[in-house]
Amino acid sequence: MMPPEDPPQEHWPDAPASHPAPDRFLDEQAGPMVRPYVMTSGRTEPTRGKFDLITLVVAAGPEPEGAIGLGPEHLAIIRLCQSVLSVAELTGHLDLPVATVRVLLGDLLDKGFVSMQEPEPEADMHDIRLYKAVIDGLRAL
């Protein structure tokens, strides 16, 4: 899923100081910062949806074959979301930052490939069934 590792810096040890040294883009810090956003074409915000860490996502159908405009990461999300998963779980399975996964999910939601269920807003934490279900679930562990 991830692009190949950057070549070791030793390949560019003698960059002239007079113009920008190419290796400044390739240090270990810069790599992970740039690459995730390549997958999103540089976008940092999803086109649709807020996607809380515990927003639940499920694919609307099987992984499409030869879908136009979907990258391998989009397809990986559709594959993972054949059963219901949270945004947090998706980021863990894909080993991608949350912000990247949000953008990819926005694309998929836009195109109707996934549906989602937002969590209860903080103001709505007064549903006693929720508390009872959680207590019962914990007791059953």
């Binding site: 400044r24 883009f25 810090q29 810069a30 992970p32 910062m33 740039v34 995730p36 809380d52 860490l53 515990i54 927003t55 639940l56 499920v58 694919a59 609307a60 159908g61 099987p62 054949q82 059963s83 219901v84 949270s86 947090a88 779980e89 980021t91 863990g92 399975h93 080993d95 991608l96 930052p97 949350v98 912000a99 549906s115 989602m116 269920q117 969590p119 209860e120 807003p121 903080e122 934490m125 007064h126 006693i128 069934r129 929720l130 508390y131 009872k132 279900a133 959680v134 207590i135 019962d136 679930g137 914990l138 007791r139 059953a140 562990l141």
Partner: protein, 203 residues
Amino acid sequence: MVSGLSRNDGRARRLPTAVKIVIAGGFGVGKTTMVGTVSETRPLRTEELLTDEGVGIDDLSGVERKKTTTVAMDFGRITMRDEYVLYLFGTPGQERFWFMWDEVSLGALGAVVLADTRRLSDCFPSVDYFERRSTPFVVAVNCFEGARQYDLEEIQMALNLGPKVPVMLCDARSLESCKQVLINLVLHAMKFRGLPAEAPQNA
């Protein structure tokens, strides 16, 4: 096409609602252990990248000079009946990652602040944070071997907690102990939000 049909059936029903509980506390206090003890799946890790020089700055001219940091959060999952799924998030230990705390605490059912009596002050920021946010929380003292045992009252006083904040001992490695802490938290959260509490039972 059997699988396709079963997927359609799956979609026809409502998606479950996710609930989260935050496990906070200082570095190395047992947050990840607790998440792992109760999670039904192998705990996962979610990562967020941030720069040293501020988040949300779009000026790309300085990008190559920014240093990045990864903030990791471990989390686990417990599937419940009645269409609920509980997620437990261990907060990143460093306090400078408050923005992650905000994200993970928003809409949380409540929080467990784990404390270690050998470094009690490590949990002060967590206690302050949840008090300020009015998030219901309990303090669970992880009993490390070799640590002096204190009275719960002493700890309550040392943390300057109100009498309404439950304080309890726990062992983050023990499922029974973690269950009890989480059940106590849910009961406390019900009371905190003015819901009729049910009598606590031992699991």
